[in-house]
Amino acid sequence: MELLLNIFQMIVETSIDVLPIVSIIFGFQFFVIRKPIPNLKRVITGFVYVLVGLSLFLLGLEQALFPLGRLMADQLTNPAFIYGDIAAVPNVIHWADYYWVYLFAFAIGFSTTIAEPSLIAVAIKANEVSAGAISVWGLRRAVALGVAVGITLGSFRIVTGLPIHYFIISGYVVVVIQTFFAPKMIVPLAYDSGGVTTSTVTVPLVAALGLGLAETVPGRNVLIDGFGLIAFASLFPIMSVMAYAQISEFMAKRSNKI
């Protein structure tokens, strides 16, 4: 009974979140375009599916994944876990002591990105538009790898306390250089994949990791160092997607020669 109530409440909440988009779409459709929507019934059914699907998805995340993920981020960043004993915590920490944190950051970055619904949407569209040249799974793996590297590097930054803009600005330089060498077809999609990745699944888990680290690493300020992981997670996929296209192009050229 309580479960049904939860589902119902979640659907209501999601509907309220979606309301502005729906009213903009239908407002413009009726007052500006003034033409009936083709397959109206099918479109509305589709919207209902999206709504129900998103509600169930969020409910499941809150029930199963988020509490566990947050708990794990807390446990892994706890100095008592990292040094085996709270009394063994040294005054000056060494960045390499946090190896489990980096491994977790990498793994959770990769796996949450694979499950990200908006990335699935963009990958389906890219596959369709490129007439199959870009595979759904290839793109998703490339983006996930980028997020994984980004979040690992972001955790390293929080542990060492280096200023965030050094990393982001050098990242920009790499992106600019890559842009000149990457196949023209991939560039806009690569830029898009940066913004797409950080959404429903990734943001809450990654934010928990960042805040856990900033709270427990000595000398870090939660308010200043807790932010910034998302920025890493949206910059590195741009590089990995361009690299993926460059490597595929290179492989195709080589196999043509033989």
């Binding site: 988009i21 099918r42 998103l54 169930l56 794990m72 949450t112 308010l223 932010f227 920025a231």
Partner: protein, 244 residues
């Protein structure tokens, strides 16, 4: 009927496969590294079932509802030929979907706490609320602006590289003069703005526009709207931090 059930089962299996990496990662770290008992095991099983069926429904609905409407609207605007209305629509879509975004509201509230602690604003509830609202509206305005610029780019066929690079240069320049407390939030705000429903809609809009305008390639011109939407909030938030 049997076929429909088979198709549903097949897509649920696909969703399960999407989720499998997370299950493996969490399982490995719990069992091998942390070695702590998992609290509420039953809840986790039920929650996982919800996630799998939710993802299945979402992807079904995506191809039935969100993609077609985004594309049909793009086509209708292209045929109507009114650039003004198209740009107004683009702005509303960007602004309207961002201003109510729960993730953004949460980030704006946290940011106002930082600002109050850092002495940038008065440390009272009213000043903090004003600051959070100001931040939220600047991000929403930035996203609206970004979609307008992105749509204009598709219409005119401008090349995306130089625009994004120009944006980067602006971000770098502003980073050097913006107050330190705002930088982390500004960088993050680019990522949090794009929600699960906005992304498919905006992508369909861009691809639809590029395919219905002559001389535009949906692959090179259709994508890129999201890229603008994650770049401009950084610039606008740092500008907001400097003005206040």
């Amino acid at each position: 009927m049997q076929q429909a059930i088979f198709a549903l089962l097949k897509s649920m299996l696909g969703s399960l496969r999407d989720l499998l990496p997370i299950i493996l990662v969490i399982g490995f770290f719990q069992a091998v590294v942390l070695q702590q008992p998992i609290p509420g095991f039953m809840n986790i099983i039920i929650g996982t079932l919800f996630i799998v069926s939710g993802l299945t429904f979402f992807i079904y609905g995506l191809e039935m509802g969100l993609f077609p409407i985004g594309e049909s609207m793009a086509n209708a605007f292209a045929r109507k030929g009114s650039v003004m209305w198209l740009l107004i629509f683009a702005f509303c879509l960007g602004f309207g979907t961002t201003v109510a975004e729960p993730a953004l509201i949460a980030v704006a509230e946290e940011a106002s706490e930082i600002a109050a602690m850092g002495g940038m604003i008065n440390n009272n509830v009213e000043a903090m609320e004003n600051y959070a609202d100001g931040l939220r509206f600047s991000v929403a305005f930035a996203v609206g602006f970004a979609i307008v610029i992105g749509v204009l780019r598709i219409l005119k066929g401008w090349s995306i590289q130089y625009m994004i690079m120009g944006g980067y240069v602006l971000v770098v320049l502003m980073t050097s003069i913006a107050p330190r407390e705002i930088i982390g939030i500004a960088y993050d705000s680019g990522g949090v703005t794009t929600s699960t429903i906005t992304v498919p809609l905006v992508t369909a809009l861009g691809v639809g526009l590029a395919s219905s305008i002559k001389g535009r390639n949906p692959m090179t011109d259709g994508f890129g709207l999201i890229a603008f939407a994650s770049l401009t909030p950084m610039i606008f938030v740092m500008a907001y931090g400097m003005v206040i």
